[in-house]
Symmetry: C2
Subunit: 402 residues, 2 copies
C-alpha cells in the first residue's frame, strides 16, 4: 500500500441529506433572517416531565452495565403496553436497543447476509441507507408516489422486485417521510407476498399512535401469519418526545432471530441504563400525555394543510399519520429551491427550511420537485411557515428560477 | 426459500463467553452458596457523585437529538484532558460514540472493507470478535503468552502476519484481559511495522490511567509518525466507573476517516444526550477521583498477587495495568474447572467465578489452562476470592479432575 486505506463503504455511505442545508440556514441566521425549521423530525413538544424525573431518580451509587437485552422491568412495561392493541408479546421477546437505529441495524444483521436484499417502499427514511451500508445489504425500492398518497402498488408490481436474494420487506407506517398510513388491504397484500416468497416483514412502528383519522394504532404482530415472520422495530424518540434518550426496541416471536440479536447485543454490552428508567414510566403513564400529543400534531397538520389545500400550485394528499408530509412543488429542482429559500429569499425578515425529498428516494430522478415538511412548530407558526413557503414559490417563479 | 432465512453471520457471531457461565453461578446461589464474582469487568467503585449529579441537572424541557459527533462542550473537555499528556488534539478531531463499543465498530467500518484484516495481539477483548463479524473483517492474532507477561513478539514474527489485506494493527494497553502495559520499545516496533506496510494503528486506550508502576499514562497520539495513521478508541466506562452511561469516543487527526465516521454517526443520529453532561464533569474534575481509584485497583491487584505469588501452582507475572490478570492454572481445561467451581465446589459455603481465558484467544488450543480475573472486589475480598480459588484447585487435583 502506498497510502493509508480508506474503506470503499466509508466513502460510499451518504452524509445525512437532511443536515446538508444546515450551513445555508446558519448563514441566513447570521444575516438576521428568522428561519422556520420544518425540515427535521426533532419534536419541540416537551418530554413528559415524569419521564425526565424518573431518569433523575436513578440513585444507585454505581452506574453499571445493564443486561444486554435491556432491563426486565422495561421489557415488561413494553409487553404490557402492547396489550392495549391486543398484541400478546412476552418480555423475553422484547430486546432493548440504543434507539430505533440499532434496532434496524441488528435486524438487518440477523436476517440478511452481505449482498442480500430488502424491499422498502420509497420514499423512505434515509438512514436505512446507512444501516444497509454497515450491514452490506441492498435496498430495493418499491415505488410509491405523491399522486396516490404514497400507498403501495399492486401485488404483481411488488412481486416483480423479488429475487433469490430477497429476505425481507421493510414497512414504516405511519410513514416517515410521507405520513401515509397503510390500510388493512395493503397489509394483507404484503403478508401474501411475504408468505409466497418466505420473507420477513420488518415493521418500523415508531409512529404507531400518530394517526389522525379513525384508524386504530396497529402492529404487524397482529397479522395472521407465522409469528416468526414478523419483526417490529420501535423507539421512544417520537412517542415520548425523547429523541436524545436513545432507547428503542425489537419485538419478535422469532426466538432464533432473538438469540442471534442477543449475541450482537452482548458485543456492544448494553443500551444506556438511566434512560431505560424514564422509558418504564413513559410506557406506564402513556395515557397521561400521548392523546394530547397526537391532538397537537393533528392541529399542526391541519394548519399546514389549510395553506397547502388553498395553494393549487402545491400537490399533496393530506396524510393520515406520523408528523411529516411530502409536497410536490411547481419547481424543477426542489434542492435548488430549498437552498434559494435560505440564501436568496426572505419575507419580512423570515424564511423557511424544508428537506428536499430526492434523497428519500433510491430510484434516479424521482422526487426532484418534492420536499418533506415536519410538523414540529405549533399551528400558528406552522401556518406562517407554509405561507412563507408559498410566498417563496411565487417569487422563485417570478424570477424565472423554477 | 422453503424457510425464513437466518443470516450466516448471525449464526456465526459468538455469544459472550464471559456470560456463558452465568446460569451455573445462578444455580450455585440458589443452593445458598456465596459466589465471588471476579469474572467480569464491572467495577463496583462508585461513580463520582458529581458525575451523576451533572446528569440529573439536565433541565431542558425536551430531551432532543444532540449533534451526531457529540456535544461540543464534551469534545472540548476531552481535548483539554489530553493536554495533561502533552497530546494536542482539536475538539473537532474527537467524535463521541455510544460507548467504546461503537467507537471500535465505526473505526472498523471506516478503515476496512469486508474481507480486510486487522492484527490484534491475543488474548484480546472478546467483543472485538462481535464488531469484526458486524463489519465483515478478519482478526489475525499476534501471539503473546503468559510466560512473557503477554508482551509483544519480535518485529519479524509480527511482519509474517501482514498480507495484502492487512489494514491496521489494534493495540490495547493497558490490556484487557492481560493487564500488560506496552513499553516504549514495543510501541516503536509497532510504529515501524505500521509505517513499512502503511497500516493504521488503532489504539484502545480505555484503561489509559490504570497503571501501577512508574510509567506515565500514554497515548499513541504521541507517536512520531504521520498523525493520520493514529486512531484512538476510548470510553468513560472504566475511567469514571460509569459502564452504563454508554459514552465513548474516537480521537484522530485523520480528517478523511473522521468525515466517513461522521456519516455513520449521522445514520444513528446521536449518542445519549444526558450522559454527555456527566462526562463533561468527569473530564473536568478527573483529579478529584482518578488517583484514588487507581490506588484502590493497585491495592486489589497486590492483594490478589499476594496469594498468586505464594502459590507455585499458579503462573502469572504481576501485570502493570488495567484491572485484569490472566493466570495459568495447573489444569488441562480451565473451562471445566470454572464450571466445576460453581457446580461442585464450595469452601465454607463460598466459591469463586472466573472467566476461562480460551475465548480471549483466536488461535486454536491456546489458553486452555488459563483464566482471567478482574479486580472488582475490595482487597480483603479479592484476597479471599483468590484463596478460595487456590482451595478449589487443590480439591480439583485431589479428585483427579485436573
Amino acid at each position: 500500500m502506498d497510502r493509508l486505506y480508506l474503506s470503499k463503504r466509508g466513502m460510499e455511505v451518504e452524509a445525512s441529506p437532511i443536515r446538508k442545508l444546515v450551513p445555508f440556514a446558519e448563514e441566513a441566521k447570521k444575516r438576521g433572517i428568522k428561519v422556520y425549521h420544518i425540515n427535521i423530525g426533532q419534536p419541540d413538544i416537551p418530554t413528559p416531565p415524569f419521564i425526565l424525573e424518573a431518569m433523575r431518580a436513578f440513585s444507585n451509587p454505581v452506574l453499571p452495565y445493564g443486561p444486554s437485552q435491556g432491563l426486565l422491568e422495561l421489557r415488561q412495561a413494553i409487553a404490557e403496553y402492547f396489550k392495549r392493541y391486543n398484541v400478546n408479546i412476552d418480555p423475553c421477546e422484547v430486546f432493548i436497543t440504543s434507539g430505533g437505529s440499532e434496532a434496524i441495524f441488528f435486524t438487518f444483521l440477523a436476517t440478511m447476509d452481505p449482498g442480500d436484499e430488502v424491499l422498502i417502499p420509497e420514499p423512505y427514511y434515509t438512514n436505512y441507507n446507512g444501516f444497509a451500508n454497515m450491514a452490506g445489504v441492498r435496498i430495493v425500492p418499491i415505488p410509491t408516489d405523491v399522486e396516490s398518497g404514497f400507498h403501495l402498488p399492486d401485488a404483481e408490481d411488488i412481486e416483480k422486485l423479488v429475487t433469490s436474494r430477497t429476505r425481507a420487506i421493510l414497512l414504516c407506517s405511519p410513514n416517515n417521510p410521507t405520513g401515509a398510513v397503510y390500510t388493512e388491504d395493503e397489509y394483507k397484500r404484503i403478508k401474501k407476498i411475504a408468505e409466497k416468497y418466505n420473507l420477513y416483514i420488518i415493521s418500523d412502528e415508531v409512529y404507531r399512535e400518530f394517526i389522525f383519522n379513525n384508524t386504530k394504532p396497529f402492529s404487524v404482530l397482529k397479522l395472521d401469519t407465522e409469528p416468526e415472520r414478523l419483526i417490529v422495530i420501535d423507539s421512544i424518540s417520537k412517542r415520548f418526545s425523547a429523541c436524545g434518550a436513545r432507547i428503542g426496541f425489537i419485538a419478535t416471536k422469532n426466538r432464533k432471530i432473538l438469540a442471534n440479536i442477543l449475541k450482537y447485543g452482548q458485543a456492544r454490552l448494553c443500551p444506556p441504563t438511566i434512560e431505560q428508567y424514564g422509558a418504564i414510566e413513559g410506557y406506564k403513564r402513556l395515557d397521561e400525555f400521548l392523546p394530547d400529543m397526537i391532538e397537537e400534531y393533528k392541529r399542526r397538520r391541519d394548519a399546514a394543510f389549510e395553506v397547502i389545500d388553498n395553494t393549487p400550485d402545491i400537490f399533496a394528499l393530506k396524510p393520515d399519520g406520523a408528523f411529516y408530509a411530502v409536497l410536490k412543488l411547481p419547481v424543477k429542482d426542489a434542492d435548488h429551491f430549498a437552498k434559494w429559500l435560505l440564501s436568496d429569499f426572505n419575507y419580512d425578515g423570515k424564511t423557511v427550511m424544508v428537506a428536499p425529498a430526492k434523497p428519500f428516494y433510491r430510484s434516479e430522478n424521482k422526487g426532484m420537485s418534492e420536499v418533506r415538511i415536519a410538523y414540529v412548530l405549533e399551528s400558528r407558526l406552522m401556518r406562517e411557515a407554509l405561507e412563507i413557503l408559498v410566498m417563496g414559490l411565487k417569487e422563485y417563479k417570478k424570477k424565472g428560477l423554477g
